[in-house]
């Protein structure tokens, strides 16, 4: 049975090419690996290799022919004595360089449908009720994070902590203080200074079903590891058709600390917030830090948990409950109000809260929303608030272009445009690398005055 040799596609974009040269002539014996012809693709001159053996029965496209379409029959190979027909045999499958694949079974790829199916709606759970009479105790964010890790490590043997100085040094920021003593060196692991490597090892361990907590001394250093976080941790569930999964938490301080300059002062909320396959959490209060870190450790997905060095020592009231777990993806209304919605998260909340206090003195009743989770974002809570207030100001330390505030502004105009009484205002860090000089650093960060000014602008007061 003669076999049609087809013009092959030899690059992802090739549609046609030039048949430059035949290296075999009619009557020649052809064996596997022999170069039959040279073709010119859109990128290079390529060789067509034979796969099966036989005689070159006929050449249907002369050398030098330009614009030969991909999958056109260019020659036929078969056994001696087979008829040269000058056209493909009826009913036989077209085939580049060899064996027959039945054409009638071949389903050409469908045209991409122009209607994209709608994204499934994500509904965030509400926070669990705190039973009446529950005691609260004052704790720092640092203590809350430590308790969250310790509780989860007690609960699940598969949870372990790795990172630089997490064990014997007791944590560069003392978040992991005492954990080595309680859990031992098997589960609290000092790594070398090698972010790219240990992030990847964490991902591999998570693929195997363990639940690593990978601490970055700061998220600035996670830039070295960002390929493993995005390409390996975030995308593999999708690329494996749901087989793999990567239950890992990447956590550490994020954003500006104080006077540490451009390379150590950066907010990654918007960076990671863009990536499908990640959850991104950025708590402000100690209670949220505890409840959300516990949730992050239990979550079967990779979670980016963005802390803040300045907040580590701040005290907050934390409910005294055995197992305080909060839902990822749910915003918290920090303070109800009717005149304007201020949306923030993480360190930005400290500006927002102070601004709201001062605005109250000016007779402006601000609603303050703590987003808590950047991805998936609880836009419903924001939108419901704006329906009531008609005005919104966002506050964050990150840069303006492509910021979290930009996304919120987009969502508001897309969802509740008719409710708006003023354009959405956005307070962000300035569009500069973080300067070292104390005065310049102060200017580069958002401040309470800017938030107040923005609120007055959108409320026309």
């Amino acid at each position: 049975m003669a076999i049609d040799i087809l013009m092959p596609a030899l690059s992802p974009t090739m549609e046609e090419g030039k048949l430059t040269k035949w290296l075999k002539k009619v009557g020649d014996d052809v064996k596997s690996g022999d170069v039959l012809a040279e073709i010119e693709t859109d990128k290079a001159t390529m060789e067509i290799e034979a796969v099966d053996e036989g005689k070159l029965l006929e050449i249907l496209v002369a050398e030098g022919t330009e614009g030969v379409k991909v999958n056109a029959v260019i020659a036929r190979v078969g056994e001696e004595g087979e008829a040269a027909t000058g056209k493909p045999e009826a009913g036989e499958a077209p085939q580049p360089a060899a064996e027959a694949a039945p054409a009638e079974k071949t389903q050409p790829m469908a045209q991409a449908s122009s209607t994209v199916p709608a994204a499934p709606a994500v509904k965030a759970e509400a926070d669990p009720d705190i039973p009446a009479g529950t005691e609260f105790e004052s704790k720092t964010v640092r203590e809350a994070l430590r308790e969250a890790m310790a509780e989860e490590m007690r609960r699940d043997e598969d949870v372990f902590l790795m990172g630089e100085e997490v064990a014997e040094y007791q944590g560069a920021y003392k978040i992991s203080q005492g954990l080595l003593d309680e859990f031992g060196a098997r589960r609290v692991i000092d790594t070398p200074i090698t972010e790219h490597g240990f992030a990847g090892i964490g991902v591999g361990a998570a693929f195997a079903g363990l639940k690593p907590i990978v601490e970055f001394m700061t998220f600035n250093f996670a830039m070295q590891a960002i390929d493993q976080i995005i390409n390996s941790a975030a995308k593999t569930l999708y690329m494996s058709g749901g087989q793999m999964g990567c239950p890992i938490v990447f956590r550490g301080p994020n954003g500006a600390a104080a006077r540490v300059g451009a390379q150590h002062s950066q907010d990654y909320a918007a960076w990671y917030g863009m990536i499908p396959g990640l959850k991104v959490v950025m708590p402000y209060s100690a209670a949220d830090a505890k409840g959300l870190l516990k949730a992050a450790i239990r979550d079967p997905n990779p979670v980016i948990f963005l802390e803040n060095e300045v907040l580590y020592g701040h005290h907050f009231e934390v409910p005294k409950l055995d197992d305080y777990v909060l839902p990822i993806g749910k915003a918290r209304i920090h303070k109800a109000g009717k005149d304007v919605t201020i949306v923030s998260f993480g360190m930005g909340m400290s500006y927002a809260i102070k601004a709201a206090d001062e605005l109250a003195g000016l007779g402006i009743d601000a609603e303050v929303i703590d987003l808590r989770t950047i991805r998936p974002m609880d836009i419903e809570t924001v939108v419901n608030s704006v329906k009531k207030t008609g005005r919104c100001v966002t506050v964050e330390e990150g840069w303006p272009q492509g910021s979290v505030g930009s996304e919120i502004a987009y969502q508001i105009q897309a969802n509740v445009f008719d409710y708006l009484d003023a354009p959405v205002a956005r307070i962000t860090g300035k569009d500069v690398p973080m300067p070292y000089a104390a005065n310049l650093e102060k200017l580069a960060l958002p401040n309470v005055g800017e938030v107040i000014e923005a609120v007055r602008a959108v409320t026309y007061r």
Partner: protein, 356 residues
Amino acid sequence: MAVRPATEKRTRASAPTSGTKKPGKTSNPTVNYQVAEFDKDDEFKAYHDMLLIRRFEEKAGQLYGMGLIGGFCHLYIGQEAVVVGIQKALREGEDQVTTSYRDHGHMLACGMDPKGVMAELTGRQGGYSRGKGGSMHMFSREKQFFGGHGIVGAQVPIGAGLAFANKYRGNDNVSVVYFGDGAANQGQVYETFNMAQLWKLPVIFVIENNRYAMGTSVSRSSAQTDFAKRGESFNIPGEQVDGMDVRAVNAAADRAVEWARTGNGPYILEMQTYRYRGHSMSDPAKYRSKDEVQKMRDERDPIEQVRKRLVEKGWASEEDLKEIDKKVRAVVTEAADFASADAEPDPSELWTDILR
């Protein structure tokens, strides 16, 4: 870094004795020519498994030419002895395997279904990743195959992470992670070497030195071309192995697996191999001569070596071998038919498997 020709120059060694604790030399200047004793069944299986990979890859090349496979497609033709020889030393479904984007051969060697692999290449719903991964991104939990990674070198710490999990759980599984001579110059490889040795992780680093990192030859890209030495400063034992001889590969793999499984930490195997085709389907491979490729095919072909032995020892007739070839072709044709006829993923798949 010359791959030595002439099989008859090799010294034969008996199959490795189990329980040996002696690592390979850390600075072996020559290729290790010790070969495992293969009995008739071993030779037949090696022949079959390597032929399956070769025919599968040839078919994938054809389907690419027909436009049924898109994007990038990296064929394994020429390197078959590496995965087949190593897989023989592993416990299928327990020991983990991770590799780069040139992964079709590794998946077949791990026992994954050719239909599922080919259907992933054509982006169909019956593919291992339901059409959402493609040639470079496939996985099988059942076979403990952890990809299929598209970023050069990224699989190396992941493979060590799987080994970390073995050690953490206290089982004696080993993790094998393959990467190329090109990836061997990535920084994360050395970060991983350091931690793997520091923590004595049961991981075997298999460097498939096929001489070209895309179009850049080893001598133009590497200051140290003896890749077995790349772990030397971490005290990771390493050996250079004739990666065209499945018996040599298997003997080295047995040593490495024994080393890692018994708690001695990582091991490096540099497999001196060769890819016949371009880096990917669209690579014209102008950076090497046709003679170089032809010489390899004629003198060193891994499948031909086994075929010759089978015939010379009187273990197989030409008819027997034709029968195997026929069977393999039938499997590959069935895979190609399935991969061509299967439906594309349902549009709703766009939104699934992003989060659990």
